[in-house]
């Protein structure tokens, strides 16, 4: 008699395969039915790029900034400054505290193959030069209609990042280093940064208009230099014609072939009275520390970036095609996740899985953050991951400027060195 395992194998492996023509006819019927369906939701809802990228715990604000407003930090050719816009910047720089509301809509498969989560976001942000940043966001999952709320605090004097997820009754705390804290405060949807960047690229004055009864003047740019993430971005700024302070900011950025992020910043309030206690989170007693609580933020150093490249080379035998945060996560998050899941015991809990994922993905986050930092710091990084592999020992994989005459290079074997412009030319030839 056959052993039971043999019977199980036979049943498991038994195949019934349809003729392709039959499958084609059946599928055509389904496609037709899908076209007739009257119940399809609008395409507004989309994967939550926030949770997709930032679910992993530690890159949250930095990556968010990279996509939404930090993406505006690339500086290319300086254009002629407008007196009017420069005056707007001067007015805004006088402000110590401001509040605004934000609405973000993500459309299209921004992060394919990674996650089903698609969420519109709406919320309020309060920024104080002295105390820090507080952000209250509401996220809506289009799959379930479920609304989740989160609070994020960046506390200046404690150099602390705190996130509260109320539905989950969880919180995450991370200590920020000086560099990251400065960058976050600088980037976090700061209208000053936006205006600075608009002043440095080609923009047009839209003239006078009216928003909610307020006379406004508009400025708009589609200059590729406005975004370090995409060449397809449009930013429109409307300022109060009397006060010269922003009233409305609209951003529309294409993230990939089908994905877009549209964000609106509105209802600005300037010099609102705040207290230090407004920027101190209150964590209820019954909230638990989330996976990743207490972990350090990914480093943005050259060594950490090399560790990220090494991780990918070990996993795939090649380097990532791109190293901007979005593309990096798009390409590699599912692969890392799959490897982790495969190596963990079957009875691992969701929390253990999430914690392991957060730890494992940190080198990738470091790589993305390091590249982002190079872009932001105008060090003109150039990456050749699509053509250079681990076997290309003397070929430049990533390079960036460190002075007018010197470049830093990471080669295909992941060694790093400083070279002159002439040496760089030889390496790249």
């Amino acid at each position: 008699m056959r052993p039971a395992e043999e019977i199980e194998r036979l049943v498991t492996d038994a195949q019934v395969t349809m003729h392709p023509d039959v499958k084609g006819d059946a599928l055509n019927e389904l496609i037709g039915e899908l076209g007739r369906s009257k119940t399809i939701r609008s395409a507004d809802a989309a994967p939550n790029i926030w949770r997709i990228i930032m679910k992993n715990g530690t890159t949250k604000l930095a990556a968010a900034a990279a996509i939404l407003v930090g993406a505006l930090l690339a500086v290319y050719n300086l254009g002629p400054a407008s007196v009017a816009l420069a005056e707007v910047l001067a007015k805004v720089e006088e402000v110590k505290t401001y509040m605004y509301k934000v609405d973000v809509k993500v459309s299209g498969p921004v992060m394919t193959e990674i996650s089903p989560w698609g969420q519109d976001m709406t919320g309020t942000v309060t920024t104080s030069k002295d105390f820090g940043i507080k952000q209250n966001m509401e996220l809506i999952d289009p799959n379930t209609g479920a609304t989740t709320t989160q609070e994020i605090y960046i506390i200046s004097d404690e150099k602390l990042f705190v996130e509260l997820k109320h539905e989950q009754k969880r919180f995450t705390r991370s200590v920020l280093n000086d560099d990251l804290l400065a960058r976050m405060k600088q980037q976090h949807n700061d209208p000053r940064e936006l205006i600075r960047q608009m002043l440095e690229v080609k923009y047009t004055a839209l003239g006078r208009s009216e928003i909610d009864g307020v006379q406004v003047d508009g400025f708009e740019t589609t200059d590729p230099g406005i975004s370090s993430t995409t060449a397809d971005a449009k930013v429109t700024l409307w300022v109060d014609a009397k006060t010269w302070l922003p009233v409305l900011v609209e951003m529309d950025m294409r993230i990939n072939e089908q994905g877009r992020i549209r964000s609106t910043y509105h209802d600005y309030q300037w010099d609102v009275p705040v207290q230090k206690s407004d920027f101190v989170p209150v964590i209820p007693d019954d909230y638990e520390a989330a996976p990743g609580d207490g972990m350090a933020w990914p480093e943005m150093t050259e060594a950490a970036a090399i560790a990220g490249l090494r991780l990918v080379a070990d996993l795939l035998g090649r380097y990532p095609k791109q190293v901007s945060m979005v593309e990096l996560m798009q390409e590699l998050s599912p692969i890392v996740f799959k490897h982790i899941k495969r190596d963990l015991p079957g009875d691992v809990t969701d929390t253990e899985l999430e914690t392991t994922m957060i730890e494992a993905i940190q080198p990738l986050q470091s790589l993305g953050l390091f590249y982002m930092k190079l872009v932001e710091d105008q060090q003109e990084p150039v990456y050749y991951g699509e053509t250079v592999g681990p076997d290309d020992a003397e070929t430049v994989l990533l390079r960036w400027e460190i002075s007018d005459t010197e470049h830093r290079v990471i080669l295909g074997d992941l060694s790093a060195r400083t070279v002159s412009a002439e040496q760089l030319g030889e390496l790249e030839n």
Partner: protein, 179 residues
């Protein structure tokens, strides 16, 4: 992860997502349905109905567990609803059973399957329905015993017993077939 993304895209009316879901699970569901119903035509109809239901729910489809498990459960429920269970519950002899792989249904329903698998399907047709259901859903549908027990409205212990009895009986049938 990918399945949830596919469902999300299907909910937005994405034809590519539908095609990918269909290509990914159609054959698996047909073989499960064929085993449960002892009838390829019924299996094809049931699976098509399940996909049509999925398509018609586009925009409000919420899959809380894995998509394959969801679709497999839909197939099993529909076969029960259709009364296939009733005919399948009546033990039949090997001579009464048409091979699943038969081409006799015409070229438009050509089903490929080798001899070994053919004999397995013929043997499974002789099992009491609940035993067969436990065996097929667990081995071909990767459904957990706990979930099969919920589907069958019984305890996990009973489902495990049905599974073991089913395997024993398959062994006996295949042995007698050889002899």
């Amino acid at each position: 992860m990918e399945d949830k993304l596919l469902i999300w895209n299907l909910n937005r009316g994405d034809t590519d997502a539908l095609c990918r879901i269909y290509d990914k699970y159609r054959d698996d569901l047909v073989r499960i349905a064929a085993g449960l119903a002892n009838d390829v035509s019924v299996a094809e109809d049931v699976v098509q109905e399940v996909f049509l239901t999925l398509v018609r729910s586009a925009g409000r489809c919420k899959i809380r567990r894995n998509l394959k498990g969801y679709l497999t459960t839909c197939v099993a429920n529909r076969i029960r609803d259709l009364g296939s269970k009733k005919s399948a519950q009546n033990p039949v002899s090997l001579d009464d059973i048409e091979p699943v792989a038969s081409d006799a249904k015409g070229p438009d329903q050509c089903v490929a399957c080798d001899e070994e698998f053919e004999s397995i399907y013929r043997a499974m047709a002789l099992l009491p329905y609940e035993q067969k259901e436990a065996v097929i859903l667990h081995l071909q549908g990767s459904i957990k015993f706990r979930e099969i027990a919920e589907l069958q409205g019984t305890s996990i212990k009973t489902t495990l017993s049905r599974y073991c009895y089913g395997l024993d009986k398959l062994r006996s049938i295949l042995k007698s077939e050889v002899e």
